[in-house]
Amino acid sequence: MYSFHFLDYFILALYLIGMVAIGVWFSKRHKDFDDFFLAGRTLTTPILISTLISTYYGIDVLFGDSQLAFTDGVVAWFGYARPTYAFFFIAAFMLAHRLRAEDFRSLPDILDRYYGKKTRYVAALASFFYSLPTLSLYGFGVLGEAVFGWQHSIGMLVMGGVTLIYTLTGGFWAVVITDSIQFLMMCLVLAIATPFVFKMVGGFDQLIATLDPSFFKPMGELSIWLVIIYASTGLTILVEPTFYQRIFAAKSYKNVRNALLIGIFLWGSYDWLVTILAMAAKTGVIQGIISPDIAPDTSLLVIMGVSLPVGLLGLFMAGVLATEMSTLDSYCLIAGGNLAYDIYKPALKPDASDKELIEKTRWGVGLSWILGFIIANFFGQMLGLWVFMASILISSVLIPIMFGLFIPKVRKTMAGLISTAAGLFSTIALNSWIMIAGTYIPEEETYVLHIGSWAILQEYVMYYTVPISLLGFIAGLMIEKGRRS
Protein backbone atom coordinates (compact mmCIF):
# COMPACT_ATOMS: atom_id res chain seq x y z
CA MET A 1 0.00 0.00 0.00
CA TYR A 2 1.09 3.59 -0.65
CA SER A 3 0.90 6.41 1.87
CA PHE A 4 -1.40 8.87 0.16
CA HIS A 5 -1.95 12.43 1.29
CA PHE A 6 -5.42 14.00 1.25
CA LEU A 7 -4.39 15.95 -1.86
CA ASP A 8 -3.58 12.69 -3.71
CA TYR A 9 -7.03 11.28 -2.86
CA PHE A 10 -8.66 14.55 -3.91
CA ILE A 11 -6.94 14.42 -7.33
CA LEU A 12 -7.98 10.79 -7.85
CA ALA A 13 -11.60 11.50 -6.84
CA LEU A 14 -11.73 14.59 -9.07
CA TYR A 15 -10.45 12.58 -12.00
CA LEU A 16 -13.03 9.79 -11.54
CA ILE A 17 -15.93 12.24 -11.11
CA GLY A 18 -14.78 14.14 -14.21
CA MET A 19 -14.86 10.99 -16.33
CA VAL A 20 -18.42 10.16 -15.26
CA ALA A 21 -19.52 13.77 -15.87
CA ILE A 22 -18.25 13.64 -19.46
CA GLY A 23 -20.23 10.43 -20.10
CA VAL A 24 -23.42 11.90 -18.65
CA TRP A 25 -22.98 15.12 -20.65
CA PHE A 26 -22.83 13.18 -23.94
CA SER A 27 -25.63 10.77 -23.01
CA LYS A 28 -28.44 12.72 -24.74
CA ARG A 29 -26.46 14.06 -27.66
CA HIS A 30 -26.29 11.09 -30.03
CA LYS A 31 -28.19 11.72 -33.24
CA ASP A 32 -27.64 8.30 -34.86
CA PHE A 33 -25.60 5.10 -34.62
CA ASP A 34 -22.62 6.60 -36.49
CA ASP A 35 -22.56 9.39 -33.92
CA PHE A 36 -22.68 6.92 -31.00
CA PHE A 37 -20.21 4.38 -32.44
CA LEU A 38 -17.88 6.54 -34.58
CA ALA A 39 -18.39 10.06 -33.14
CA GLY A 40 -20.03 11.08 -36.43
CA ARG A 41 -16.74 10.42 -38.32
CA THR A 42 -15.47 13.83 -37.30
CA LEU A 43 -12.24 13.01 -35.43
CA THR A 44 -9.43 15.45 -36.08
CA THR A 45 -5.66 14.88 -35.82
CA PRO A 46 -5.16 15.87 -32.14
CA ILE A 47 -8.07 13.70 -30.98
CA LEU A 48 -6.78 10.80 -33.06
CA ILE A 49 -3.28 11.13 -31.59
CA SER A 50 -4.70 11.15 -28.06
CA THR A 51 -7.12 8.30 -28.50
CA LEU A 52 -4.71 6.07 -30.47
CA ILE A 53 -1.94 6.43 -27.89
CA SER A 54 -4.10 6.16 -24.78
CA THR A 55 -6.03 3.16 -26.09
CA TYR A 56 -2.98 1.24 -27.27
CA TYR A 57 -1.27 1.55 -23.88
CA GLY A 58 -2.90 -0.45 -21.13
CA ILE A 59 -1.48 -1.58 -17.82
CA ASP A 60 -0.32 -4.79 -19.54
CA VAL A 61 1.97 -2.80 -21.86
CA LEU A 62 3.03 -0.45 -19.05
CA PHE A 63 3.88 -3.35 -16.73
CA GLY A 64 5.15 -5.66 -19.52
CA ASP A 65 7.64 -3.09 -20.88
CA SER A 66 8.84 -2.15 -17.39
CA GLN A 67 9.23 -5.83 -16.43
CA LEU A 68 11.50 -6.53 -19.41
CA ALA A 69 13.47 -3.31 -18.83
CA PHE A 70 13.88 -4.15 -15.12
CA THR A 71 15.30 -7.59 -15.91
CA ASP A 72 17.10 -7.02 -19.26
CA GLY A 73 17.60 -3.26 -19.84
CA VAL A 74 17.28 -1.19 -23.02
CA VAL A 75 16.42 -4.25 -25.14
CA ALA A 76 12.87 -3.64 -23.90
CA TRP A 77 12.83 -0.58 -26.17
CA PHE A 78 15.08 -1.70 -29.03
CA GLY A 79 13.85 -5.26 -29.32
CA TYR A 80 10.28 -5.13 -28.10
CA ALA A 81 8.81 -1.65 -28.51
CA ARG A 82 10.71 -0.18 -31.46
CA PRO A 83 9.67 -2.73 -34.14
CA THR A 84 6.04 -1.84 -33.39
CA TYR A 85 6.66 1.63 -34.83
CA ALA A 86 7.50 0.04 -38.19
CA PHE A 87 4.00 -1.46 -38.19
CA PHE A 88 2.50 1.94 -37.33
CA PHE A 89 4.44 3.36 -40.28
CA ILE A 90 3.04 0.64 -42.57
CA ALA A 91 -0.43 1.33 -41.16
CA ALA A 92 -0.04 5.08 -41.83
CA PHE A 93 0.96 4.75 -45.47
CA MET A 94 -0.54 1.46 -46.69
CA LEU A 95 -3.47 0.42 -44.53
CA ALA A 96 -5.25 3.57 -43.36
CA HIS A 97 -5.81 4.92 -46.88
CA ARG A 98 -7.49 1.72 -48.07
CA LEU A 99 -9.60 1.40 -44.92
CA ARG A 100 -10.72 5.03 -45.03
CA ALA A 101 -11.57 4.87 -48.74
CA GLU A 102 -14.63 2.66 -48.13
CA ASP A 103 -17.53 3.30 -45.82
CA PHE A 104 -16.75 0.61 -43.22
CA ARG A 105 -17.92 0.82 -39.61
CA SER A 106 -16.26 -2.21 -38.07
CA LEU A 107 -13.65 -4.86 -38.78
CA PRO A 108 -16.28 -7.58 -39.55
CA ASP A 109 -17.85 -5.09 -42.00
CA ILE A 110 -14.75 -5.47 -44.20
CA LEU A 111 -14.98 -9.25 -44.21
CA ASP A 112 -18.71 -9.10 -44.98
CA ARG A 113 -18.10 -6.91 -48.02
CA TYR A 114 -15.29 -9.11 -49.36
CA TYR A 115 -16.43 -12.61 -48.34
CA GLY A 116 -20.07 -12.49 -47.20
CA LYS A 117 -22.15 -12.64 -44.04
CA LYS A 118 -20.93 -15.99 -42.64
CA THR A 119 -17.34 -14.74 -42.52
CA ARG A 120 -18.65 -11.58 -40.85
CA TYR A 121 -20.23 -13.59 -38.03
CA VAL A 122 -17.10 -15.68 -37.39
CA ALA A 123 -14.96 -12.51 -37.33
CA ALA A 124 -17.49 -10.75 -35.06
CA LEU A 125 -17.28 -13.64 -32.57
CA ALA A 126 -13.47 -13.58 -32.65
CA SER A 127 -13.48 -9.79 -32.21
CA PHE A 128 -16.02 -9.98 -29.35
CA PHE A 129 -13.95 -12.54 -27.48
CA TYR A 130 -10.74 -10.61 -28.13
CA SER A 131 -12.36 -7.40 -26.86
CA LEU A 132 -13.71 -8.78 -23.57
CA PRO A 133 -12.24 -6.46 -20.90
CA THR A 134 -11.00 -9.33 -18.73
CA LEU A 135 -7.37 -8.23 -18.48
CA SER A 136 -8.22 -4.58 -17.90
CA LEU A 137 -10.56 -5.51 -15.06
CA TYR A 138 -7.99 -7.91 -13.66
CA GLY A 139 -5.44 -5.08 -13.84
CA PHE A 140 -7.80 -2.84 -11.82
CA GLY A 141 -8.08 -5.63 -9.22
CA VAL A 142 -4.29 -5.89 -8.90
CA LEU A 143 -3.91 -2.10 -8.85
CA GLY A 144 -6.61 -1.69 -6.20
CA GLU A 145 -4.88 -4.23 -3.98
CA ALA A 146 -1.35 -2.87 -4.52
CA VAL A 147 -2.26 0.79 -4.09
CA PHE A 148 -5.27 0.92 -1.75
CA GLY A 149 -5.21 -2.53 -0.10
CA TRP A 150 -8.65 -3.38 -1.56
CA GLN A 151 -9.89 -6.85 -2.43
CA HIS A 152 -9.53 -7.68 -6.13
CA SER A 153 -13.25 -7.53 -6.86
CA ILE A 154 -13.62 -4.12 -5.14
CA GLY A 155 -10.93 -2.58 -7.36
CA MET A 156 -12.62 -4.01 -10.44
CA LEU A 157 -16.06 -2.77 -9.38
CA VAL A 158 -14.97 0.77 -8.45
CA MET A 159 -12.55 1.61 -11.26
CA GLY A 160 -14.11 -0.65 -13.88
CA GLY A 161 -17.56 0.59 -12.84
CA VAL A 162 -16.67 4.25 -13.46
CA THR A 163 -15.39 3.31 -16.92
CA LEU A 164 -18.54 1.34 -17.66
CA ILE A 165 -20.79 4.25 -16.67
CA TYR A 166 -19.21 6.82 -18.99
CA THR A 167 -18.91 4.32 -21.87
CA LEU A 168 -22.55 3.23 -21.59
CA THR A 169 -23.87 6.76 -21.39
CA GLY A 170 -21.56 8.70 -23.67
CA GLY A 171 -20.59 6.14 -26.35
CA PHE A 172 -17.59 6.83 -28.57
CA TRP A 173 -17.79 10.61 -28.00
CA ALA A 174 -17.22 10.09 -24.28
CA VAL A 175 -14.49 7.54 -25.03
CA VAL A 176 -12.48 9.87 -27.27
CA ILE A 177 -12.94 12.98 -25.11
CA THR A 178 -11.91 11.11 -21.96
CA ASP A 179 -9.04 9.55 -23.96
CA SER A 180 -7.74 13.06 -24.72
CA ILE A 181 -7.64 13.93 -21.02
CA GLN A 182 -6.20 10.52 -20.15
CA PHE A 183 -3.53 10.93 -22.84
CA LEU A 184 -2.38 14.23 -21.34
CA MET A 185 -2.22 12.75 -17.85
CA MET A 186 -0.35 9.60 -18.92
CA CYS A 187 2.31 11.45 -20.90
CA LEU A 188 2.76 14.58 -18.79
CA VAL A 189 3.03 12.73 -15.49
CA LEU A 190 5.70 10.39 -16.89
CA ALA A 191 7.71 13.34 -18.24
CA ILE A 192 7.44 15.30 -14.96
CA ALA A 193 8.27 12.24 -12.84
CA THR A 194 11.55 11.46 -14.65
CA PRO A 195 13.74 14.11 -12.92
CA PHE A 196 12.34 13.09 -9.50
CA VAL A 197 13.29 9.45 -10.12
CA PHE A 198 16.80 10.32 -11.31
CA LYS A 199 17.26 12.52 -8.24
CA MET A 200 16.24 9.59 -6.03
CA VAL A 201 18.88 7.22 -7.46
CA GLY A 202 21.61 9.90 -7.60
CA GLY A 203 21.43 10.97 -11.24
CA PHE A 204 21.50 9.22 -14.60
CA ASP A 205 25.22 8.42 -14.27
CA GLN A 206 24.35 6.09 -11.38
CA LEU A 207 22.38 3.90 -13.80
CA ILE A 208 25.46 3.43 -15.99
CA ALA A 209 27.75 2.94 -12.98
CA THR A 210 25.48 0.51 -11.12
CA LEU A 211 23.78 -1.65 -13.74
CA ASP A 212 25.46 -4.52 -15.57
CA PRO A 213 26.81 -3.34 -18.98
CA SER A 214 24.48 -5.83 -20.69
CA PHE A 215 21.57 -3.56 -19.63
CA PHE A 216 22.79 -1.05 -22.23
CA LYS A 217 23.21 -3.51 -25.10
CA PRO A 218 20.46 -2.68 -27.62
CA MET A 219 19.73 -6.36 -28.26
CA GLY A 220 20.73 -7.44 -24.74
CA GLU A 221 21.32 -11.13 -24.09
CA LEU A 222 18.17 -12.24 -25.91
CA SER A 223 18.46 -14.64 -28.82
CA ILE A 224 17.63 -13.29 -32.27
CA TRP A 225 14.63 -15.65 -32.43
CA LEU A 226 13.17 -14.27 -29.23
CA VAL A 227 13.66 -10.72 -30.54
CA ILE A 228 11.88 -11.68 -33.79
CA ILE A 229 9.02 -13.20 -31.78
CA TYR A 230 8.76 -10.08 -29.58
CA ALA A 231 8.87 -7.86 -32.67
CA SER A 232 6.17 -9.84 -34.47
CA THR A 233 3.68 -9.05 -31.68
CA GLY A 234 3.48 -5.64 -33.40
CA LEU A 235 1.57 -7.40 -36.20
CA THR A 236 -1.54 -7.14 -34.03
CA ILE A 237 -1.82 -3.45 -34.93
CA LEU A 238 -2.68 -4.53 -38.51
CA VAL A 239 -5.95 -6.13 -37.31
CA GLU A 240 -6.56 -4.26 -34.05
CA PRO A 241 -10.32 -3.44 -33.90
CA THR A 242 -9.88 -0.30 -31.76
CA PHE A 243 -7.31 0.96 -34.27
CA TYR A 244 -9.68 0.26 -37.16
CA GLN A 245 -12.54 2.02 -35.34
CA ARG A 246 -10.43 5.17 -35.06
CA ILE A 247 -9.54 5.07 -38.75
CA PHE A 248 -13.23 4.77 -39.65
CA ALA A 249 -14.08 7.61 -37.24
CA ALA A 250 -11.49 10.01 -38.68
CA LYS A 251 -12.55 13.08 -40.62
CA SER A 252 -10.20 12.10 -43.46
CA TYR A 253 -7.27 9.85 -44.33
CA LYS A 254 -4.87 12.78 -43.88
CA ASN A 255 -5.93 13.12 -40.24
CA VAL A 256 -5.13 9.44 -39.61
CA ARG A 257 -1.78 9.60 -41.42
CA ASN A 258 -0.69 12.76 -39.58
CA ALA A 259 -1.85 11.34 -36.23
CA LEU A 260 0.14 8.14 -36.75
CA LEU A 261 3.29 9.95 -37.89
CA ILE A 262 3.22 12.39 -34.94
CA GLY A 263 2.12 9.57 -32.64
CA ILE A 264 5.21 7.46 -33.46
CA PHE A 265 7.44 10.10 -31.78
CA LEU A 266 5.20 10.24 -28.70
CA TRP A 267 4.91 6.44 -28.57
CA GLY A 268 8.69 6.10 -28.82
CA SER A 269 9.28 8.68 -26.09
CA TYR A 270 6.71 7.10 -23.77
CA ASP A 271 8.19 3.61 -24.24
CA TRP A 272 11.71 4.89 -23.69
CA LEU A 273 10.82 6.63 -20.44
CA VAL A 274 9.01 3.54 -19.14
CA THR A 275 12.15 1.53 -20.03
CA ILE A 276 14.62 3.89 -18.41
CA LEU A 277 12.49 4.42 -15.26
CA ALA A 278 12.25 0.65 -14.75
CA MET A 279 16.05 0.51 -15.10
CA ALA A 280 16.23 3.26 -12.47
CA ALA A 281 14.10 1.03 -10.23
CA LYS A 282 16.64 -1.77 -10.73
CA THR A 283 19.39 0.71 -9.77
CA GLY A 284 17.36 1.60 -6.66
CA VAL A 285 17.17 -2.09 -5.71
CA ILE A 286 20.96 -2.52 -6.07
CA GLN A 287 21.54 0.67 -4.05
CA GLY A 288 19.22 -0.59 -1.30
CA ILE A 289 16.71 2.25 -1.72
CA ILE A 290 14.00 -0.19 -2.83
CA SER A 291 13.22 -3.62 -1.38
CA PRO A 292 14.85 -6.45 -3.37
CA ASP A 293 11.60 -8.44 -3.10
CA ILE A 294 9.63 -6.33 -5.57
CA ALA A 295 8.00 -8.06 -8.52
CA PRO A 296 9.68 -6.88 -11.77
CA ASP A 297 6.33 -5.92 -13.32
CA THR A 298 5.58 -3.51 -10.46
CA SER A 299 9.02 -1.82 -10.62
CA LEU A 300 7.61 1.33 -12.23
CA LEU A 301 4.88 1.70 -9.61
CA VAL A 302 7.37 1.16 -6.77
CA ILE A 303 9.97 3.66 -7.99
CA MET A 304 7.24 6.28 -8.49
CA GLY A 305 5.86 5.55 -5.01
CA VAL A 306 9.20 6.35 -3.35
CA SER A 307 10.23 9.24 -5.63
CA LEU A 308 7.19 11.46 -6.16
CA PRO A 309 6.08 14.23 -3.79
CA VAL A 310 2.53 14.74 -2.48
CA GLY A 311 0.11 15.69 -5.24
CA LEU A 312 2.29 14.36 -8.01
CA LEU A 313 1.83 10.82 -6.67
CA GLY A 314 -1.95 11.24 -6.86
CA LEU A 315 -1.55 12.58 -10.39
CA PHE A 316 0.63 9.60 -11.33
CA MET A 317 -1.90 7.13 -9.93
CA ALA A 318 -4.66 8.93 -11.82
CA GLY A 319 -2.41 8.61 -14.90
CA VAL A 320 -2.06 4.85 -14.32
CA LEU A 321 -5.84 4.57 -13.93
CA ALA A 322 -6.20 6.63 -17.11
CA THR A 323 -3.90 4.22 -18.94
CA GLU A 324 -6.18 1.30 -18.17
CA MET A 325 -9.54 3.09 -18.35
CA SER A 326 -8.79 4.35 -21.85
CA THR A 327 -8.19 0.74 -22.91
CA LEU A 328 -11.19 -0.77 -21.11
CA ASP A 329 -13.71 1.74 -22.50
CA SER A 330 -12.61 1.22 -26.10
CA TYR A 331 -12.74 -2.58 -25.95
CA CYS A 332 -16.13 -2.62 -24.22
CA LEU A 333 -17.54 -0.42 -26.97
CA ILE A 334 -16.04 -2.61 -29.70
CA ALA A 335 -17.49 -5.76 -28.06
CA GLY A 336 -20.92 -4.07 -27.78
CA GLY A 337 -20.75 -3.06 -31.44
CA ASN A 338 -19.81 -6.63 -32.44
CA LEU A 339 -23.01 -7.94 -30.86
CA ALA A 340 -25.36 -5.17 -32.00
CA TYR A 341 -24.07 -3.97 -35.35
CA ASP A 342 -22.14 -7.03 -36.58
CA ILE A 343 -24.46 -9.83 -35.44
CA TYR A 344 -27.89 -8.58 -34.22
CA LYS A 345 -28.66 -6.23 -37.10
CA PRO A 346 -27.64 -8.39 -40.09
CA ALA A 347 -28.74 -11.74 -38.58
CA LEU A 348 -31.87 -10.91 -36.60
CA LYS A 349 -33.23 -7.48 -37.47
CA PRO A 350 -31.94 -5.89 -40.68
CA ASP A 351 -34.41 -2.99 -40.36
CA ALA A 352 -33.34 -2.07 -36.80
CA SER A 353 -33.48 1.68 -36.22
CA ASP A 354 -30.49 3.68 -35.00
CA LYS A 355 -32.14 4.14 -31.62
CA GLU A 356 -32.60 0.40 -31.25
CA LEU A 357 -29.04 -0.28 -32.39
CA ILE A 358 -27.62 2.16 -29.85
CA GLU A 359 -29.68 0.49 -27.14
CA LYS A 360 -28.47 -2.98 -28.18
CA THR A 361 -24.86 -1.75 -28.29
CA ARG A 362 -25.27 -0.52 -24.71
CA TRP A 363 -26.55 -3.97 -23.71
CA GLY A 364 -23.55 -5.50 -25.48
CA VAL A 365 -21.16 -3.17 -23.63
CA GLY A 366 -22.74 -4.21 -20.33
CA LEU A 367 -22.63 -7.90 -21.23
CA SER A 368 -18.97 -7.77 -22.24
CA TRP A 369 -18.13 -6.02 -18.95
CA ILE A 370 -20.00 -8.66 -16.91
CA LEU A 371 -18.36 -11.55 -18.80
CA GLY A 372 -14.95 -9.90 -18.35
CA PHE A 373 -15.65 -9.45 -14.62
CA ILE A 374 -16.69 -13.11 -14.17
CA ILE A 375 -13.66 -14.46 -16.05
CA ALA A 376 -11.27 -12.08 -14.22
CA ASN A 377 -12.65 -13.23 -10.85
CA PHE A 378 -13.01 -16.95 -11.40
CA PHE A 379 -10.43 -17.91 -14.03
CA GLY A 380 -7.07 -18.53 -12.33
CA GLN A 381 -4.74 -18.71 -15.33
CA MET A 382 -4.64 -15.06 -16.43
CA LEU A 383 -1.37 -15.25 -18.35
CA GLY A 384 -2.59 -18.19 -20.39
CA LEU A 385 -5.82 -16.35 -21.04
CA TRP A 386 -3.90 -13.25 -22.16
CA VAL A 387 -1.95 -15.24 -24.76
CA PHE A 388 -5.17 -16.99 -25.83
CA MET A 389 -7.02 -13.71 -26.36
CA ALA A 390 -4.08 -12.01 -28.08
CA SER A 391 -3.73 -14.81 -30.62
CA ILE A 392 -7.42 -15.33 -31.40
CA LEU A 393 -8.01 -12.28 -33.59
CA ILE A 394 -4.73 -12.24 -35.48
CA SER A 395 -5.12 -15.95 -36.29
CA SER A 396 -8.69 -15.47 -37.54
CA VAL A 397 -8.66 -12.29 -39.57
CA LEU A 398 -5.10 -11.24 -40.51
CA ILE A 399 -4.92 -13.39 -43.66
CA PRO A 400 -8.42 -12.69 -45.12
CA ILE A 401 -8.23 -8.96 -44.35
CA MET A 402 -4.77 -8.43 -45.85
CA PHE A 403 -5.56 -10.47 -48.97
CA GLY A 404 -8.95 -8.80 -49.35
CA LEU A 405 -7.55 -5.28 -48.98
CA PHE A 406 -4.58 -5.66 -51.29
CA ILE A 407 -5.53 -8.35 -53.85
CA PRO A 408 -9.15 -7.75 -54.96
CA LYS A 409 -9.27 -10.78 -57.27
CA VAL A 410 -8.94 -13.22 -54.32
CA ARG A 411 -12.07 -11.90 -52.59
CA LYS A 412 -13.84 -15.28 -52.79
CA THR A 413 -16.52 -16.29 -50.30
CA MET A 414 -15.12 -19.73 -49.43
CA ALA A 415 -11.56 -18.44 -49.08
CA GLY A 416 -12.59 -15.87 -46.48
CA LEU A 417 -14.89 -18.23 -44.59
CA ILE A 418 -12.52 -21.22 -44.38
CA SER A 419 -9.54 -19.01 -43.53
CA THR A 420 -11.36 -17.16 -40.72
CA ALA A 421 -12.99 -20.30 -39.28
CA ALA A 422 -9.77 -22.36 -39.50
CA GLY A 423 -7.84 -19.60 -37.73
CA LEU A 424 -10.46 -19.24 -34.99
CA PHE A 425 -11.00 -22.93 -34.26
CA SER A 426 -7.32 -23.92 -34.50
CA THR A 427 -6.49 -21.15 -31.98
CA ILE A 428 -9.17 -22.35 -29.55
CA ALA A 429 -8.14 -25.99 -29.97
CA LEU A 430 -4.37 -25.46 -29.72
CA ASN A 431 -4.56 -23.06 -26.76
CA SER A 432 -6.96 -25.35 -24.88
CA TRP A 433 -4.77 -28.37 -25.60
CA ILE A 434 -1.59 -26.64 -24.37
CA MET A 435 -3.27 -25.30 -21.22
CA ILE A 436 -4.93 -28.62 -20.34
CA ALA A 437 -2.30 -31.17 -21.41
CA GLY A 438 0.82 -29.00 -21.09
CA THR A 439 2.83 -28.03 -18.04
CA TYR A 440 3.25 -24.59 -16.55
CA ILE A 441 6.84 -23.32 -16.29
CA PRO A 442 7.02 -20.55 -13.65
CA GLU A 443 10.44 -19.24 -14.83
CA GLU A 444 9.17 -18.79 -18.38
CA GLU A 445 5.71 -17.75 -17.15
CA THR A 446 4.13 -19.88 -19.84
CA TYR A 447 2.68 -23.28 -20.68
CA VAL A 448 4.58 -25.77 -22.76
CA LEU A 449 3.37 -28.92 -24.48
CA HIS A 450 5.87 -31.68 -25.33
CA ILE A 451 5.13 -33.92 -28.30
CA GLY A 452 8.11 -36.26 -28.55
CA SER A 453 11.15 -34.01 -28.83
CA TRP A 454 9.00 -31.11 -30.06
CA ALA A 455 8.04 -28.44 -27.49
CA ILE A 456 5.23 -25.97 -28.21
CA LEU A 457 5.17 -22.84 -26.04
CA GLN A 458 1.78 -21.15 -25.70
CA GLU A 459 3.21 -17.79 -26.87
CA TYR A 460 4.06 -19.39 -30.20
CA VAL A 461 0.53 -20.56 -30.99
CA MET A 462 -0.02 -17.93 -33.67
CA TYR A 463 3.04 -19.21 -35.57
CA TYR A 464 1.00 -22.36 -36.17
CA THR A 465 -2.49 -20.89 -36.48
CA VAL A 466 -1.73 -18.06 -38.94
CA PRO A 467 -0.26 -20.57 -41.46
CA ILE A 468 -3.36 -22.75 -40.85
CA SER A 469 -5.52 -19.73 -41.70
CA LEU A 470 -3.41 -19.19 -44.84
CA LEU A 471 -3.85 -22.83 -45.85
CA GLY A 472 -7.60 -22.41 -45.29
CA PHE A 473 -7.59 -19.38 -47.57
CA ILE A 474 -5.77 -21.28 -50.33
CA ALA A 475 -8.12 -24.26 -49.91
CA GLY A 476 -11.11 -21.92 -50.23
CA LEU A 477 -9.69 -20.43 -53.43
CA MET A 478 -9.22 -23.91 -54.88
CA ILE A 479 -12.80 -24.90 -53.96
CA GLU A 480 -14.14 -21.76 -55.66
CA LYS A 481 -11.99 -22.45 -58.72
CA GLY A 482 -13.25 -26.06 -58.83
CA ARG A 483 -16.87 -24.87 -58.62
CA ARG A 484 -16.41 -22.46 -61.52
CA SER A 485 -14.70 -24.99 -63.75
Binding site: G40, D205, W272, L273, D354, E356
Partner: protein, 60 residues
Amino acid sequence: MSGWEMFTWITVLILGVGAVLVFMVFLMGLPDLLKQQDVEHHHDKILNNNDPATSTLDKK
Protein backbone atom coordinates in the same frame (compact mmCIF):
# COMPACT_ATOMS: atom_id res chain seq x y z
CA MET B 1 26.50 13.78 -20.28
CA SER B 2 26.28 10.38 -21.99
CA GLY B 3 24.40 9.74 -25.21
CA TRP B 4 21.84 7.69 -23.28
CA GLU B 5 21.15 10.56 -20.89
CA MET B 6 20.88 13.11 -23.70
CA PHE B 7 18.42 10.84 -25.53
CA THR B 8 16.39 10.46 -22.33
CA TRP B 9 16.05 14.22 -21.85
CA ILE B 10 15.05 14.63 -25.50
CA THR B 11 12.27 12.07 -24.99
CA VAL B 12 11.17 13.90 -21.81
CA LEU B 13 10.90 17.08 -23.90
CA ILE B 14 9.06 15.40 -26.77
CA LEU B 15 6.59 13.68 -24.43
CA GLY B 16 5.99 16.61 -22.08
CA VAL B 17 5.81 19.43 -24.62
CA GLY B 18 4.21 17.19 -27.28
CA ALA B 19 1.39 16.07 -24.98
CA VAL B 20 0.64 19.66 -23.89
CA LEU B 21 0.67 20.93 -27.49
CA VAL B 22 -1.60 18.13 -28.73
CA PHE B 23 -4.00 18.76 -25.83
CA MET B 24 -4.05 22.52 -26.48
CA VAL B 25 -4.84 22.01 -30.18
CA PHE B 26 -7.56 19.55 -29.13
CA LEU B 27 -9.05 22.13 -26.73
CA MET B 28 -8.94 24.86 -29.37
CA GLY B 29 -10.85 22.65 -31.83
CA LEU B 30 -13.32 21.28 -29.30
CA PRO B 31 -15.90 24.13 -29.40
CA ASP B 32 -16.11 23.86 -33.21
CA LEU B 33 -16.46 20.10 -33.00
CA LEU B 34 -19.29 20.30 -30.45
CA LYS B 35 -20.96 23.15 -32.35
CA GLN B 36 -20.82 21.06 -35.51
CA GLN B 37 -22.38 18.14 -33.63
CA ASP B 38 -25.16 20.44 -32.40
CA VAL B 39 -25.83 21.81 -35.89
CA GLU B 40 -25.92 18.31 -37.39
CA HIS B 41 -28.20 17.20 -34.57
CA HIS B 42 -30.62 20.05 -35.29
CA HIS B 43 -30.41 19.50 -39.06
CA ASP B 44 -31.02 15.80 -38.59
CA LYS B 45 -34.11 16.47 -36.46
CA ILE B 46 -35.59 18.61 -39.24
CA LEU B 47 -34.77 16.07 -41.95
CA ASN B 48 -36.03 12.99 -40.13
CA ASN B 49 -38.59 14.69 -37.94
CA ASN B 50 -36.68 12.85 -35.21
CA ASP B 51 -38.30 9.58 -36.19
CA PRO B 52 -36.73 6.89 -34.01
CA ALA B 53 -37.70 4.22 -36.51
CA THR B 54 -35.45 5.78 -39.14
CA SER B 55 -32.13 4.02 -39.68
CA THR B 56 -29.48 6.34 -41.06
CA LEU B 57 -27.22 3.35 -41.67
CA ASP B 58 -29.37 2.07 -44.52
CA LYS B 59 -29.56 5.50 -46.16
CA LYS B 60 -25.81 6.02 -46.30
